[in-house]
Assembly symmetry: C2
Homo-oligomer: 304 residues x 2
């Protein structure tokens, strides 16, 4: 299996505490890194996890609240000091440009690489990035400011060619990719070997969804069906369901209900309110509804 | 002795590393806190050092480079989330208002306390703050952007009254402050007890100077004479004296030369370039010139 994992850099709520950093995660797909959210301290956590800054080309910011955003200028500055020359994309809802551009203009007057700001329409579920291995789709969320989640969908993978068949039919290297792409193979004497005799099925394409911050939004299930891993905020427990509603956040039970209705494989929760000394309270409330629920913590690596 | 100490929250250079946080120090004078510089992660370090946010009323920013500034918005936001109502002053050179005000306007739309921005003329040595126990003076520095250091001068202290004399002359409580302020005491029978029989001399008023970032500036000695503790940046060693000049930074030897010429009691250095794995190289270069030189590191407490 090709690498597809999520590294948790921070999973705290609004206040950075001695226990949690602010929101930030890195998606590592085949050694390309994608950063989701960038709270204060993200660059410190990035280094601590020995992640390679040069492998990062795209940053996805869910919304412009400080705990998801205040680490961004520091990261961009540090890249410049380290001599980056490759373009860096920042995808985020409005008012990204209004807030970030004046800071870029002042703090990065001698920048040696291009920062491309991509303002997302956070009200739509749409493709915001793709390369040959992944599509990233926005997930419209419901928070106090424009906010969206992100759905990482691995593109369909190639079939596996059976090694012994290469030898048996003396298949040349140049023909292998076509076979992995489901083509039959024609021997020099004109005999056609059907593809299903040469290959085993491709690994299923995997997917990862990130939903933070948002009030409980049942209709998200429409976009999240059969996702492998769902990260969903669980700021509060059931004791604070009214506060969750008032602040446009979710409870652990609501996150679990969404996971259940979306038939995801596993749910990971985070963005815990600092009031919960023991986050197992949140975990237990989630597991009562969706047993495959797990807590995140800093430096965790989630295999997709 | 009344408390007068400096807590090092960060003493790294431009890049936060796994070893050092960006520039930030807290001056604790009689349990009032003053923050000097506010690099990314300052609020995390503030908490880690169990400092009380409510004791902080004034922040002094030397200059608007990210490694001295990027933690400020997070700190201001966190104070708001924690329910602060007391005014907060931010003293910094230009263009403080231009950079910070748009962020305050966006990120702190529902702020419950007043943030007062005080733009300092960084070209002048002048009084920028005083209360009943301290004066804070700007120190004009020479960096790539407007930049100043800060000189904390404790106000003259009161004399110590000799406890046995209170009993001997039956001195009432209301009279004690006047005696500490050098007044003589008149007994009910008209006898005058001279003040020097009632008191021992006041502790000498102490001072702390912070100089970062700056090229070597010999004329600073004029403002730093007999300062108790001088913090001075020492970004480079003598191997990089030309780079220090080109980037408007100082070497450890230059910091030590200034300390020597200023007759300070002790020199503390920091703002180390990340290239020095072993900062003792810098320390040794400083001690060759000024033996009372010391390294700073995170969470150190320097007694003034």
């Amino acid at each position: 299996m090709e690498k597809f994992e999520v590294i948790i850099l921070g999973c705290g709520c609004a206040l950075p505490t001695s226990k949690h950093f602010n929101a930030a995660q890195v998606v590592n797909l085949r050694n390309k890194l994608f950063l989701i959210d960038c709270g204060e301290g993200t660059q410190i956590q990035f280094r601590r996890n020995k992640l390679n800054f040069n492998k990062l080309g795209h940053i996805f910011i869910s919304h412009l609240h400080g705990d998801h955003f205040f680490g961004l200028m520091g990261l961009i500055s540090t890249f410049n000091l380290l001599g980056r020359t490759a373009q860096l994309y920042v995808h985020a809802p409005t008012p990204l440009r209004k807030i970030l551009q004046p800071q870029l203009d002042y703090f990065c007057q001698e920048i040696n690489y291009e920062v491309i700001l991509d303002e997302i329409d956070s009200t739509k579920h749409q493709l915001i990035f793709e390369d040959r291995s992944v599509e990233v789709w926005s997930l419209p969320l419901n928070h106090r400011v424009p906010c969206c989640g992100f759905l990482f969908k691995e593109k369909p993978l190639k079939k596996h060619i059976i090694a012994s068949k290469i030898k048996q039919y003396n298949i040349p290297i140049y023909a292998i990719n076509a076979i992995k792409d489901s083509k039959d193979y024609t021997l020099p004497d004109g005999t056609i070997i059907p593809n299903d005799q040469l290959t085993t099925p491709a690994d299923p394409a995997r997917s990862y969804a990130y939903c933070s911050d948002t009030s409980y939004l049942p209709k998200l299930a429409e976009y999240l069906q059969n996702v492998d891993i769902l990260f969903h905020e669980a700021t509060f427990g059931e004791d604070k369901v009214n506060l969750a509603r008032a602040t446009y956040h979710s409870t652990a039970a609501q996150a679990a209900t969404l996971a259940k209705n979306s038939h995801v494989k596993k749910l990971f929760i985070g963005h815990y309110s600092a009031r919960y000394d023991d986050e197992n309270i949140l975990l237990n409330e989630a597991r009562n509804i969706f047993p495959e629920s797990f807590l995140t913590k800093e430096d965790d690596i989630i295999q997709i």
